[in-house]
């Protein structure tokens, strides 16, 4: 309504301006009685009001659109009515929407191609990795072979990181929520990282009740926990002695904590550790950091409807918490 008046206010002013001019001319030239002049005014105003009202009713949706704009890009292709502006605005928006869709599709296509490539590439790399590993097994335990096997393990982890990063886009099609025993899962993750624990002489500890179960996707959660454990070990080197994974229930939540006694994270960095490619002070000191681990952990947790928090004190250590809802209503109603 306000927009409509704003648009028409000059029109109304001009209308009355010309009406006044006309009546002044008429009064001067033909000496018309005041009552007739008033009548002409009222009559003209009536015509103006009827005209504006009709126009407003017909073009109302356009003004509402101008006021509210869009919430979704798809709305821009809706029909804006049969009026002059309605037709033209519809045509214009549709054209723009088409052009926009075309470029989005192009980007999506190249993005998809890229993901397919990464996927295939990672899988291809796993075959030579298997060959190296099998050949190493013949020399298992020998110092050289042990060094190489540690490096192949790093390669494997790197490949997995690339794979999970490529996969996170199609998360909706790639997860299964099950009830999972947390302790078994954590022990499995710790055992997988045994090379790292042993090499860096860090002792894993678990404080988890046998009965704690959570609703989650095993594969994705394992990836997250492996990231947290690897980080914990990496930033404990030469400092921390223990890495503790504990879990407890609190009200409606189950909380999992991964706690290290390492170098900690600087307060100016802590807000950004979940950003992609962020390595911060510790990354600069230690190197070997991609800045992707915590970012992926956060993305995955959000997709699984878990919450993830981090707190840290320089030179004291870091604690990462994952909060599981006791009842995953979101998923239960879906299935």
């Amino acid at each position: 309504m306000i927009l409509f008046f704003k648009e028409h206010q000059t029109y109304i002013i001009f209308y009355y301006f010309s009406a006044i001019l006309t009546t002044i001319y008429c009064v001067l030239a033909a000496d018309i009685p005041l009552l007739d002049v008033l009548y002409v005014f009222v009559f003209n105003s009536f015509i103006l009001i009827v005209f504006l009202s009709c126009k407003y009713v017909k073009t109302k949706n356009i003004y509402e659109l101008l006021k509210n704009t869009f919430n979704f890009i798809e709305e821009s292709s809706l029909d804006q009515g049969d009026t002059f502006w309605g037709k033209h605005i519809t045509a214009l928006l549709r054209k723009q929407y088409q052009l926009y869709l075309r470029s989005i599709n192009q980007i999506n296509k190249s993005h998809q191609e890229h993901l397919i490539f990464i996927n295939q590439w990672v899988h291809q790399m796993k075959t030579p990795l298997s060959v190296i590993r099998l050949q190493l097994e013949a020399h298992a335990g020998e110092p050289y072979a042990h060094g190489i096997s540690e490096e192949t393990y790093k390669l494997e982890k790197g490949l997995n990181m690339a794979l999970y990063y490529a996969r996170i886009d199609s998360f909706e099609r790639d997860f299964v929520i099950e009830r999972i025993n947390l302790k078994a899962l954590i022990l499995d993750c710790i055992s997988k990282e045994k090379k790292l624990f042993i090499k860096n002489n860090i002792r894993p500890k678990t404080e988890i009740d046998d009965t704690i179960e959570v609703y989650t996707d095993m594969k994705w959660l394992k990836f997250v926990i492996e990231q947290l454990i690897t980080n914990g070990i990496k930033y404990s080197i030469g400092k921390g002695k223990n890495l503790t994974v504990s879990a407890y229930r609190k009200e409606n939540f189950t909380i999992l904590e991964v706690v290290d006694e390492g170098i900690g994270i600087h307060p100016k960095d802590i807000k950004r550790v979940f950003n992609p490619f962020f390595t911060g002070e510790n990354g600069r000191i230690l190197g070997e950091s991609t800045g992707m681990g915590l970012y992926l952990a956060k993305e995955i947790c959000e997709n699984l409807n878990h919450k993830i928090f981090i707190e840290s004190e320089v030179n004291r250590g870091t604690k990462v918490k994952i909060l599981f809802n006791k009842i995953q209503t979101k998923f239960i109603t879906n299935t």
Binding site: V122, L134, P143, D174, S191, K194, P204, K219
Partner: protein, 231 residues
Amino acid sequence: MKYIIYIIEDDVSISRLLKEHIDKYGLSARIVENFENIMEEFLIIKPHLVLLDVNLPRFDGFYWCRRIREISKIPILFISARESGLDQVRALENGADDYITKPFSYEVVMAKINSHIRRAIGDYANSIGERVIELAGLKLYVERLEVEFHGISVLLTKKEAILLESLIQTYPKVVNRDYLLEQMWDHSDFVEENTLNVNVTRLRKKLQVLEIENGINTIRGLGYKLNKNWQ
């Protein structure tokens, strides 16, 4: 009679390594020769178990799995780099019995081959003989946790057996300390440096019972080495 394992995998190195290892365990492995005529080969070889890759030239592993299933009920194990749940489900739906993801270790492959042959044929003892590791008369019976030398035998604990197995297999080279810790890390138990030291000491004493003095040398900063001072 030896059980025959048919390896259908297009990577030559993996097929060769798998064959060598399977043969060592007293089974007979055959590698696919012609990817066009897998069914013909299958009928000639008459395997007891099939190891099947997913990505193959011409048709994929799922296709061959279905074809084999039309005529046979033998165990089929997939070996693939694809570790997503969907691929595994697809493999099982096409009639496979198990799924092994790359990169894998011999241990896993052998354990799965054994368990499937045992289940399918029900004759475990004949498929795999008892594993004995030997070095100049010193015999370690891996499954029995027993070590024998010149007619005397001593029982070992699981950890000691793992230790001795690594030492014998790597002989005459040094066994890396971290590697031993890894091997002894059963499931979830973190093994402390001290535990390793204790086990080495115990193993030394048990070797003394077999009249082997100073059987294990400590190599500082690296690990341990068997000192073969017997004939």
